[in-house]
Symmetry: C2
Subunit: 98 residues, 2 copies
């Protein structure tokens, strides 16, 4: 619930978990620890009810791109697609007002 | 978890509920019904764990502004500030990629 200097970027990740959640929580925690170390990372907020919404905040699009290409993150994405998620959407946004 | 034609706008509302949640659920449901009738409204996604994240999607900034000025919504905002929320943040974003 922090404010950051404008303009900055938000990645909205919404997901629906499948019935196969084995290993999911552990990987989610690991990704949160890892993303915090990324250049240009500002913060992250997450909540889950019937769907999950995770929003990460970034100084630049370059930071988002580097995180996307991160090797450990790539592995997590692959598992997510294969096993944990029934559906998901990723939106990259420019925050214009807060 | 729908896609919409780019570009469009997202309003990210994050909140921490207070201990006084009387009337909150009813009002939240009412606002969801109401927002769906707004011009330019595309969709809404919500989840709550220790914090709540609600993201609404809009065709234009005008639609967001009109919703903000809606009388019933204004009443809900007033109650929210006074009673239901310990903290909240609203971010208005332009979705640039999905």
């Amino acid at each position: 619930m922090n404010d950051y200097p404008l303009p900055y970027y938000a990645v909205i990740f919404t997901s629906k978990l499948s019935a196969q959640t084995e290993g999911y929580e552990e990987m989610a925690q690991k990704m949160i620890e890892l993303v915090k170390k990324q250049d240009g990372f500002l913060g992250i907020e997450a909540a889950r009810s019937s769907i999950g919404i995770t929003v990460s905040y970034w100084k630049s699009l370059d930071g988002i791109q580097a995180w996307r290409e991160n090797f450990e993150h790539q592995k997590a994405i692959k598992w997510g697609k294969k096993k944990w998620y029934d559906a998901y959407t990723i939106r990259i946004c420019k925050v214009i007002r807060q």
